[in-house]
């Protein structure tokens, strides 16, 4: 019964190495006073935070119910369009930033309760196919309502300028995005580790039947967990719309990197999703700097390297924030 877990110490060491390497790289680049490099580093971190948030939502849903949510990107896009619809009718950006994700959550919960729930008993391929189908349908619906071309969605004037950071100046909107995403990651971590509901979620990931036998309604867990994942996607969707543009497939372009992030970070580990996101973001943006043509490939190369060395991903053995 007593299991030694060398994996967790290895993972810890790996984490130290990754963080250490990152810090070293950052210091070297910052000291080199190469403005271009530090700008790209920062861009990479912002991009990485996006990947991390999307991957976190995917992991939450996948870990608990085994559902690989191919429609995750569509929910991001939906949230972006809802925010766009609000702002273009004169609604305050800040209001839209909160309300659009919440409206997306309502759609998400309806989908989960009516369409995905009956598939929980079946193999994961069923919910994967269902959500894939949903994403195709969503794309067409966005196309019909908002057109095939991108719609303009710009951040509010208060976030339009740049902010001086001493060694370089940085667009305020990107800084704001980094801040919001970091806050959300921290909030999720606190929710999972410090609340009774979070405790039940972590337990259900390990053994959902046993948690039911102890008197917890697992259907409520599944629903709230899904809502949580969609809320993350929703907020990221609004922010991404302002940064990367908004068209019927814009959310889906973030989905693939997010899956790569989950695999690099290690399936089952939320912490891995965060580290993986940052790594993928940095890899992509730094490659853009030196070999622009290879920037799309960089994350796959990174994934190949990680999987060769450690097939389960960086933190694949860790529990949820365990």
């Amino acid at each position: 019964m007593q299991t030694a877990r060398p994996g967790s110490t290895i993972a810890l060491r790996l984490a130290a190495i990754v963080v250490g390497l990152g810090a070293l790289l950052a210091i070297v680049f910052l000291l080199s006073k190469n403005g271009q490099v530090s700008t790209q580093l920062f861009n990479g971190l912002v991009l990485g935070a996006f990947y991390a948030i999307v991957a976190l939502g995917l992991s939450l849903i996948m870990n608990l119910t085994g559902t690989i949510n191919m429609a995750h990107g569509s929910f991001m896009t939906l949230s972006g369009y809802l925010a766009f619809a609000m702002v273009s009718r004169g609604t305050n950006f800040w209001f839209a930033l909160i309300v659009a994700p919440l409206m997306t959550v309502i759609v998400g919960v309806l989908v989960e309760r009516t369409l995905i729930r009956p598939l929980y008993q079946k193999e994961p391929i069923y919910s994967l196919l269902l959500t894939f189908g949903l994403s195709l349908m969503a794309e067409e619906i966005y196309h019909i309502i908002w057109g095939a071309n991108g719609v303009p969605f710009s951040p509010p004037p208060s976030l339009a300028g740049t902010v001086g950071l001493g060694f370089m100046s940085f667009p305020a909107f990107r800084l704001f995005i980094a801040l919001v995403l970091l806050l959300m990651i921290a909030a999720i971590a606190l929710f999972l580790t410090r609340t009774r509901f979070g405790l039940r979620l972590r337990a259900a990931v390990q053994d959902s039947e046993m948690i039911a036998a102890l008197g917890t309604n697992t259907q409520v867990l599944y629903m709230v967990n899904f809502a949580l994942g969609i809320f993350l996607a929703g907020v990221a969707g609004v922010l991404a719309a302002g940064l990367l543009g908004l068209n019927p497939t814009s959310g889906n372009t973030l989905l693939m990197p997010a899956f790569v992030t989950v695999i690099i970070g290690g399936m089952g580990s939320l912490f891995g999703s965060i580290v993986g996101g940052v790594l993928v973001g940095l890899a992509t943006s730094l490659t853009t700097l030196w070999i622009p043509a290879a920037s799309e490939v960089a994350m796959y190369a990174l994934m190949a390297i990680v999987l060769t060395i450690r097939p389960r991903g960086l933190f694949g053995e860790e529990g949820l924030f365990g």
Binding site: R196, L199, R202, A203, E209, M210, A213, G215
Partner: protein
């Protein structure tokens, strides 16, 4: 027996097309310890799982405190006051001892609080911040029992508590079960080690390949070693 805590009548449970339980009927009275014995694969665990709704029965009636519970969700049945100490203990290994206990708090008020459980099982208090996966088998069994107690059950379903444990630890676990009995907690006890279970049981049932083949006093069965041997299939005799 109309005032029994648990009344199971003509329970039929299948796994797919395979029939695991056929017309099993049993009762557990308030505060009573009932042993459910039988060979591996006789359907003992399935009986417990059916009662709790984890493997919903195909037909039959399960009444708990007079209420029909067959077909209800496991969490609803658990909240009525049915505690479960599963085979293999099923700890939440990445969670600490105290977190494992907190998980079972489901709003049923009663004398068993976490503080009270830790007081009663001081070993767990010492290990409160250790991850359950790092506990020994005996410690895990105690935690599994403590976890079930936190929900203030009127009936405990205990599955193979001695499995994989050394004799001294088994003795300790059975001492705890005996104390719970003295506290008035009813127990339906599944056990491979028949003589061990019969020591604390008031009555016993023996399952053999889906059907009940014995129902009666535990003391009688225990006194009749030959009968135990026969029923438990230690010698080849048709029942």
């Amino acid at each position: 027996m109309s005032s029994a805590l648990l009344e199971v009548e003509n329970l039929n449970t299948n796994y797919g097309k395979i029939s695991i339980l056929r017309d099993v009927s049993l009762t557990v009275g308030a505060g009573e310890v009932v042993a459910l014995l039988g060979l591996n694969g006789a359907g003992k665990t399935t009986t417990l799982r059916s009662i709790l709704g984890l493997t919903p029965p195909r037909s039959g009636s399960i009444r708990f405190e007079g209420q029909e519970v067959a077909g209800r969700a496991p969490y609803q049945i658990a909240r009525l006051g049915v505690g479960y100490v599963p085979e293999g203990r099923r700890m939440f290994k990445d969670l600490t001892t105290i977190e494992n206990l907190q998980l079972a708090e489901n709003g049923r008020a009663g004398e068993w609080t976490i503080a009270r459980v830790l007081e009663h099982l001081p070993k767990l208090a010492e290990l409160r911040n250790r991850k359950a996966g790092r506990l020994s088998g005996g410690e895990q069994e105690m935690l599994a029992i403590g976890r079930a107690l936190v929900s203030n059950p009127r009936l405990l379903l205990v599955d193979e508590p001695s499995q994989g444990l050394g004799p001294l630890i088994v003795e300790e676990v059975y001492k705890i079960l005996g104390e719970l009995k003295a506290h008035g907690v009813a127990i339906l006890l599944v056990e491979q080690n028949a003589l061990l279970a019969l020591k604390i049981a008031d009555r016993a049932y023996v399952l053999d390949c889906c059907k009940l083949v014995y129902s009666g006093s535990a003391a009688d069965l225990r006194a009749d070693r030959e009968r135990v041997r026969t029923l438990m299939g230690l010698t080849e005799v048709t029942v």
